[in-house]
Symmetry: none
Subunit: 328 residues, 4 copies
């Protein structure tokens, strides 16, 4: 396993990590997830990603039960949670979501309880919140750091200028800005990582823990013959994945990429994940496997990495046609 510094921070993350985005407490049970986390840990994964909203808190509870049963030293892994959406779904009340001090602190305490740990290594603002001043967010995150409940704070799906605004406020107050952003990044979604964020990588030094390296499974090739029932894309609550995919065009590109992967002698998902971590501004790609074979297949991305020469990268750009124009 390769480890990378999370931006300019001192924290080291494995370049592949383990997330429980849609998998936990939903399609699977404790046993399978226990095995998946063990496989990940044994393969050198040191970052386990979570959020209050994943399966409405149940994902954290399951991860907490599993971690409890392990003899892993707490210092050997990095654990995260995220607040914004709340975990009560439609029933949530005014202060049970968003980035107010009340919700950020209460959500952190709840995550610590569900995960059965004393501190989170990373704590993210799961989205930006127009209804909370950035100063309140910055101050609250620094309170949590002071209290020893979190070590670093981050953002997820914020714009570059929102991130810099947080740093502006933080510097003005002598406080700590976000160290890490969690954006979507994959062969279909490149604009933020490869254009909008360039100046914050250079001038602020953010790390990134990217999600959806396989574009919601599209880059596994499993939708090449249409979307079967029972997959993530047909699950309740994720219809937007269906809408968002301009599926026809995308699937044709996936098929071409699959041919090219075969030419290289590697699998399509391993190639797609390796392509993500080839970008040095990616600290780690979060994998969201539901089966052991799938997870092991994804780890092969580490071996594929060395095949990604300049020529191969150009070939991929040609196939996908998604390289963002640089505005300067």
């Amino acid at each position: 396993m390769e480890y990378r510094r999370m931006g300019r921070s001192g924290l080291q993350l494995s370049v592949l990590s383990f997330g429980s985005w849609v998998t936990f407490a939903r399609q699977t049970d404790d046993d399978i997830n226990d095995r998946l986390m063990s496989i990940a840990y044994e393969n050198g994964v040191n970052f386990f990603d979570n959020a209050e909203v994943y399966s409405a808190g149940k994902s954290e509870e399951m991860m907490g039960r599993i971690l409890k049963g392990k003899d892993w030293d707490r210092s050997s892994f990095v654990l995260s949670s995220k607040a914004f959406f709340g975990w009560k779904g439609e029933d949530k009340k005014p202060n049970q979501h968003g980035l107010s001090r009340k919700h950020l602190i209460e959500a952190c305490d709840e995550a610590l309880q569900r995960l059965q740990v004393e501190y989170l290594d990373l704590y993210y603002c799961h989205r930006a919140d127009k209804n909370v001043p950035i100063e309140e967010v910055v101050r609250t995150m620094n309170v949590l750091i002071q209290q020893g409940k979190i070590f670093y704070w981050g953002t997820s799906e914020w714009s570059a200028s929102e991130i810099v605004e947080a740093h502006m406020i933080a510097r003005e107050l002598g406080l700590e800005g976000p160290s890490v952003e969690q954006p979507e990044y994959n062969l279909f979604n490149r604009r933020k990582m490869e254009s909008e964020f360039l100046s914050i990588f250079e001038n602020i030094g953010m790390g990134t823990t990217i999600w959806s390296p396989l574009a919601s499974g599209l880059l596994t090739g499993k939708y090449n013959n249409g979307i079967p029932d029972g997959t993530r894309m047909s699950l309740e609550g994720y219809e937007w994945l269906k809408d968002r995919a301009l599926l026809n065009d995308k699937i044709s590109r996936v098929m071409q990429l699959g041919d090219f992967a075969q030419e290289l002698g590697v699998s399509l998902p391993a190639l797609s994940i390796a392509w993500c971590i080839k970008n040095p501004n990616v600290t780690t790609a979060i994998l969201g496997a539901t089966k052991e074979t799938q997870l092991l297949e994804n780890f092969k991305a580490l071996e594929v990495l060395s095949l990604l020469t300049e020529n191969v990268m150009e070939r991929i750009d040609d196939i996908m046609g998604t390289k963002p124009e640089l505005f300067r």
Copy 2:
């Protein structure tokens, strides 16, 4: 004439202003420009925009000669220049362009000499410069403010996050960040003003002095029958305008918009300019006329403004198809 505060600053700019982007010392001479500036001034324009690079310094020299001949009170108008490209073209040496302290200060002194004034009201960084730390830019602009050589400083064609980075440094040092950005904005180029910059309008309070409200003349309809010789688009040094325009598609939309203008009983350029200043985040739209009739036609945008109801705006969006997707 309507006047607007330049963002949260105290400066008031006329909502239509006069620029000398490609016109001066090139297609025209002192006499015609003298008349154009007088017409503008008499119609309430109080902002005259310039830059070191326009006609390689000659645009500033001509504007300086013209202003010298007027009896306009210096306090009655606002004058700008911009540094970055240098004015020596291919012969420029290492420190004769860019945003280093050396060039920013030397270029300011040179602009003051060419314009024959003691101070500039606005001084812009004409582009961002990856080879100069933003701190050096912020400090230098504040030195110039302290020395009384400029009143406010701004940026042109910077990204939202670069602008916020400048404010971050400025606040950290107790100095003044940029008050104004000069982006391109017109019916073909809306992404920055209507999406990327939203958080800086809200959180930083930047003003904008937008350029190219007629998309390099495309929105006058004059290219509807192709690009004749002798127009700006065929001038040496501006071939990029030609390349950039995906002309065929664009011209067809311009023709539809022309029909709609006729329906409204207004001219196409007046409609296009009015559409720009309808956006309250626009402080002023810089006009770049080369003929009196053209300039007078453009001023009619002020009257068109009241016709731009919600329905009209939606109709325009439908015709143009350029409304940017909001990412949140």
Copy 3:
């Protein structure tokens, strides 16, 4: 016993102190260390030095057990630990060493547990870490101070400019920089204390808790006839001490110094230790004895101090030939 202010801080340290560098849990057992610590305490030593890496955590555990058995008021002594190397040796994982926030905080908690105390008086960065921004270190140490887990923080074997960089960041943020540095200092290793650090003593006011006053035992004279088995220099893991010593030349100087000590009527180690604490920039010299007689002998340095006139000091310089050239 003489007590000195630790630099410009308010803390008072005995000029001789007790360290457990290589001795604990290795060559000796609880009983002997219990007696050694009692002797030290009864002779006025108030500073007991430790680190996570000493005997892989066992040195702290033993010191914790011993302190538990004493009726010493916690306020009567000063206790330290240090983080950087980790305590897991070859098995350590990415975030189990270094100066990241994660390791500094986790290592502090672990040291508190092993030492069975509620706070450390001093907590050191055992080395500099190129992979962690100094700002992260400064902020984390201040978090620990805020949480009441440590009272002062320090550095060990940092360069002068790294120490000043830490103070630069600390002042910028209104936080507390390091109060104390722990460098090696003895008659064979004088450059840092007598040249490089001069400006930080004057301008920053650092205290120093110097280690290896007897140059790993070389200045006891015990290696004058070669290195016997069973001494520290032949212990596994400390071969580097052997490599580093250009033994032949050094031993000849030690023999001359021994003659001079005899001339003065004092022992060689007492003279060597007294020479260290003669330097007013030394707050305390950490002694690392393994036998009672040895420790008692070392305390005689306090009496030798008054013999160190200017002439004697020059004579020592002549014998050793190690006085650093001042660069200015």
Copy 4:
């Protein structure tokens, strides 16, 4: 000519530059220096270095007369001076030397007069001054920047920790620290550039304008047969160069390096200068020629640069034996 950014500043300096250390107004006259400066400028040199103490002010006067006669655009070159030693030699009074505000400002005004320019691009503290608080130096340099008399300030022959102390004060006050240091650097004097300064290059981003790339001429080979009368080393006031050189050993190394240069097919001085600018932490090497042939020979260093492969560099290290030990 290659140009490099001066550290993290935005200023660009030619990698070879022209100094008037001992040459001006002493061994030569206006005519020869006029030709030398023209040759330098025509070869792309854009930095001309000076100091109040060089020939007791006469060096600046001569450079001022020469520049006056040129039609070089002021923005096309970078001019420096330095204060500390004063220019009155033995007759100097208490405030006519050192780094007090009084001397720094008065010396700057005098340098501007002697050089007949309105501002200096670079202004150096020629040495550190224990009798002036660093805060006074930092504040004064920032006053001069505000007044437009200087653009950037620097230090010469300061220690790494003194430089960081200046930055510490500057950051605390929101002022500007030194951007550039002028140390001696050549194949006989490597410790500062290759060891002591490493952390300030990385963490502070200082540029360097190194002096004496030929070790006072020693690396030209001209002393290989002893020191003739009439050379710089025998000139009054430079006896220290003689004392400092452990000439015998050094000359033997120079002779071996000369053989190696011959093997490479290049001259000894070109090789020695190229070796200096091979170090990426060197912004520019200041050449101090007194003859046209010598200056032209030195410019050949630019061509030699590409020959300096890793192997060649190791070979040079072996011959010279001057590579500093890294302390970490």
